[in-house]
Amino acid sequence: MLKFILRRILIMIPQLFLLSVLIFLLAKAMPGDALTGQLAANPKMDPQTLEEMKEKLGLNDPVHIQYIRWVKNMLHGDLGLSYTHQQPVTDLLAGRVGNTVLLSAAILILTYLIAIPLGIVSGRWTDTWADKLIVGYSYIGYATPLFIFALIMLFIFGFHLGWFPTGGSVDIQVEEGTLAYYLSKLNHLMLPALSGALINTVVTIQYLRSEIIDTKVKDFVKTARAKGVPERHIYWRHILRNSFLPIAAFLGYEITGLIGGSVFLESIYSYPGLGQLFLQSIMQRDYSVVTALVMISGVATLVGTLLSDIILSAVDPRIRIE
C-alpha cells in the first residue's frame, strides 16, 4: 500500500512540472507583467527608470531563467505581488483559503448526507413513488444551473424571509475566537453550502441509484441469497459495499471540483473565498493573483486524483498493488 502511494506520488512530479511550465508560458503570453501594477500607480514614469526597474526585477533575463526564479520563489511561498490589493499574493490567499475550505467541506458533507440515503432508497425500491420522487428531484437538480438556483435561494431565504445573512463569511461586530464568532460563521455558511449541496448531490444520487440497480442483479448476490443470508445483510454486505466503489473513487475529484468550483457560489453570496477572488482578479486583470490561483487549482486537481486513487485502492482489493 505504502509503495503504491509512493509510486503514485512520484508520477505526480512530471505532471507538476508540465503544469507549471504551461501556466508560466500562459502568464508570459498575457499582456502586462510585474511592472504593470506599479505603472498604474505612477503612469508618468520615465522610460529610463522603467528600464532600470525591469532590469532589477529580472524581466530582461532569458525566459528559462525567469521560469526557474518563478518556481524557486513559489517553493519559498512567494507568489508575487497583487497590484490591485498592493500586497503579497500569498497573504491575500491566506486570508481567504480558510473560508473556501470551510465552504467546500460543508458542501461535501451535506452532499453525501443527502445523496447516500436518497440513493439507497431510490436504488433499492426502484419504481416506487419514493423512487419516482427522488428521480424527479435529481432531474430537476441536474437541469438547474447553480447560479440561478443560488440566486433563488438567496432571494427566498436571505432576502425575503431573512433567515440567513445575504453576504460575507462572519458578522463584523463579533470578536474572533468567541462562541458567537463561530456561530456567526456557521450562520453565514448555511445558505451557500445548502445551495451548493442541493445541486451538487443529484449526480451522486443518480450514480448510487444506478450502481445499486446494477449490483443487485449480479451473480454474487444470488450466491449470497442461496447461502440463506437475510435480506438486510444482502444489502449492507453485498450490494451496497460494491455500489459505493465508484462513489468513493469520485470523492477525490469532488474535493478538487469544490476548491476551484465555488466561483459562482462565492460571488453570488459575496463570500470572501478563493473563487470570489479569482473572478475579481480576472475582471481587474490582476495577473499575479490569477496565475497563482490557476496554479493552486491545478495542484488541487493532481492531489484530487491522487486521493481518488488512494481511496479506491483502500476499498477495492482488485486495485491494490502488491
Partner: protein, 341 residues
Amino acid sequence: MEKQPLLEIDRLRVSFQIDGDYYAAVDDVSLTIGENEVVALVGESGCGKSALALSIMGLHPPEKTKVEGCLQFKGTNLLSLSVSELNRIRGKEIGMVFQDPLTALNPLMTVGRQIEESMDYHLRLSGAEKKKRTIRLLERVGIPEPEKVYHRYPHELSGGMRQRVVIAIAVACEPALLIADEPTTALDVTIQAQIMGLLKELQQQMKTSIILITHDLGVVAEMADRVAVMYAGEIVEWADVDTIFHRPLHPYTRSLLQSIPSAQTKKERLHVIQGIVPPLHKLPRRGCRFQPRISWIGADKHEPDPKLREVEPGHWVRCTCYQHFYFPDDQTVGGVGYGAS
C-alpha cells in the same frame, strides 16, 4: 427408487412477466429426486432448466415471476415458505453451485469470509471453529495451501479455483441437496473434468443428492442416475441414464444424442437439430412443442395434447411422434437450419 423422495416436484409452472403478460418457462414439470441420487436435467439453452433450478431455491425476483405447483422437500412445500423461513433451508439443506465462477463471488470479500458466511446463519460455531472448518473445506475441494487462500480475494484465483470455492460455499453446511447449474460451462475442458470429479466425490462422501443441469451429455453419462430431458419448458423424456443412452425414444433426445461428435465415425458434418428453441413469448402452447423442428414428420403423427406417458416401467415419454420418427438423409438436413455449416 422405492425410498421416500428427498424432493418431489409436482406440476411446477414458472412464469415470467413479459410486457405485462406471464409466460411459462417451466410448464407442468413433475420430477422426483431421491436420497443420494444424481438427477441430470438436459436440454438446449432456453429450455427452462435454470428457471427450474432457481425456483427450487426461491431465487426468482417475486415481482416479475409466478411460481405455481408444489415443491415438496423433506415434507415441506418450499413454495409455501416465507423468505425468512426459506433462508433456514437455503445454504443449509440445499446448496447451489452457479455457472460462472468469475461473477458468482463477491469481489470485495475474502474467500474465507464468503465460505464462513453461510455457516454464520446455519451452524452455531465460534469464529475459530468456523475458520477451521473453512480451511478443511478448502482442502477438501482440492485447493492447495488452504490457509493462504483463506485470506485471498476472488480475483487472485484462477477460474477453476474459484469454482472450487463456489462449491465449497455450496457444501459448507453439508446440504442434503446440491443444485449444480451448468457448473463447468465457463471452464476449460481439463478443469471441467476435475470439477465434475470433485462433485462426484463430494456426492459420495456427503451422501448428497445432486440436480445437475448441463448440456454436456458426456457428463450426464458419467454422473447421473436418472435423466430428465427438457424441451421448451416441458419434460419430454424421463428415465434412468442407461435407458436414455441406449433406448432413447423421444425425437428430441435422439437428436441430442445424434449431435454428439464421435471420434470413431468421422462424418463430413456434425448432426444439427434444425431451428432454435423459440423465445419464451413465441412458444407453441398447444400440440407437440418439438414439431416445428422435425417438420418432415407429418402433423398427424403428433398428439393434439401430448402428455408424459410411462412406456415401460420408469421410462416416460411425451407425445406419440417418437413412434414415427426417423432421421432424414444428411443432404436434406445439412444445409437448412441455424448454425449448420
